[in-house]
């Protein structure tokens, strides 16, 4: 009843995804190599579509995993490789390198990274904090892009 990284790698469509390794990593808590069903569901729960009737109930309870804020946090963690709550230029470069492979030179990639950070960075520390991340994506329909709907 436990999943390891190899089990995920066996899914061909995931193995060819450029960010496949980062996604698989998101399932495993810090330092562990196995995930049980509960942990698996917790991670998948981020992708539950947000239902309208949920917004009104339970204002005092903990925020559900599939709220907009938590979905964004999940995406933030995909970038934040060392989990220090900041996306540094290096981390952004590494993720970009994963997505483009060998097809773009280091200089070009560097300038893409610089430009992106420059536009999003508000407090001038050359790194993106979670708040700055949220601000950049405020116009994006996160709910639609980060949800998976089950048929019937």
């Amino acid at each position: 009843g436990l999943l390891s990284r190899e089990d995920f790698q066996r899914i061909p469509e995931l193995a060819i995804n450029p960010l496949g390794d980062r996604i698989i990593n998101a399932f495993f808590p810090e330092g562990e190599d196995q995930v049980n069903f509960r942990g698996f569901m917790r991670t998948l729960a981020h992708f539950r579509p947000i239902e309208d009737n949920e917004k009104s109930k339970d204002q005092n309870g903990p925020e559900p995993l599939n709220s907009r804020s938590n979905k964004l946090h999940f995406a933030f963690r995909l970038y934040d490789l060392d989990k220090d709550d900041k996306i540094s230029r290096d981390e952004l470069l590494q993720v970009l390198r994963m997505m483009v492979g060998v097809n773009i030179s280091d200089e070009q990639l560097g300038s893409i990274a610089d430009r992106t950070i420059q536009e999003a960075d508000q407090d001038g520390d050359s790194a993106i904090s979670f708040a700055e991340f949220v601000k950049v994506l405020e116009k994006v329909d996160v709910e639609q892009k980060m949800s998976i709907r089950f048929l019937h």
Binding site: R115, R149, L151
Partner: protein, 436 residues
Amino acid sequence: MEVAWAVGQVGALWVAVVLGLIVVPSALGISLGISEAYMWVLVKTLEWATRRLQKGAKKPQPQMLQTPTANGIIERDETPMEQEIDRLHRADFEFSHIFYFCRKGFEAIVEDEVTQRFSSEELLSWNLLTRTNVNFHYISLRLTIVWGIGVIVRYCFLLPLRVTLAAIGITSMIVGTTVVGQLPNGSVKNYLSEVVHLTCSRILVRALSGTIRYHNKENRPQKGGICVANHTSPIDAIILTNDGCYAMVGQVHGGLMGVIQRATVKACPHVWFERSEMKDRHLVTKRLKEHVADKSKLPILIFPEGTCINNTSVMMFKKGSFEIGGTIYPVAIKYDPQFGDAFWNSSKYNIVSYLLRIMTSWAIVCNVWYLPPMVKKEEEDAVQFANRVKSAIARQGGLTELPWDGGLKRAKVKDTFKEEQQKNYSKMLVRNGSVG
């Protein structure tokens, strides 16, 4: 002493009944109608069981039976990468680009196209076999009684019957082909060899309680051609030889299989390769080319997928078979899972437990379509030709077509696919020519 004699009498009676009612008619190619009657009873019983299950379920599920399982369980957004990222109106990198890959990754984790093909298809409605009991719970006493009767019928009556038939079939195949193999080469030998092969195939099909419907018999493979079909189980070969004679292609095995192979090759020019020869692709192709060039030789039977797939889809056809030349006769085989699951999940069951499962199912019901012959066109290469044949087979059999390799059952996917995805994404980033 008396007990032994009585058992001997019963045994002799049993064999006589089997021979008379099943073996002799199948050798002559006529049907006494017993299997038709059995199928009729079976169909009625299963329909009754389905109705009981529907009544028993508390909530109404009329739409369950129409939704094809091919649709899957999640809504998938098929917009290609370019469109999705384009919607953000800028070709330069944005943080939100990650959403596309992220979602695709999670969709793959929840339900992917490939790994589900390597396990048995789920049935929409229970067919009274314990092994397919996935979601169905206790409904009523009557249903359980019928299930119980089914178990008794299958294990105590059908199983011994089928095992007897299979034994008779295999023995007569070995004996028959050895005898025919002693004759000098000529038309008499070929004719007798065909008779022996056909008879034994028919006996073996009866051993599985097989009901096979052949469509478009006019397109049946001719001599000097190559027959390709989708692969679901080792039984596929028997299903096809029930209706015609083929030259088999395969690796030499040890044990009983090896005995059969050595015997049959004397009577009929099957192409058996030693394990070491299989590694040499040129050698394999050369031998097959020689066989095909001889127009008097029987058509070769090849399964280009290379491994057993669960009969819901057709996976990548290996191009080797399509480089030999000659006319290709595609055949589509579709089993009806309601009566018995023919798929051999070789990672889960070995051949003996597989055969046992087959022989304790209700029946093997399948449709075989002979498709019109196809020839490689000038401008296409082997891969394109293979894909063309694959589409034709998938369309006819009502199967989904997948570009993935059946070898992914055991091996990891090649890195080249990942690199292709990366290349596509990079093209988009630098598309404007301006970066940064």
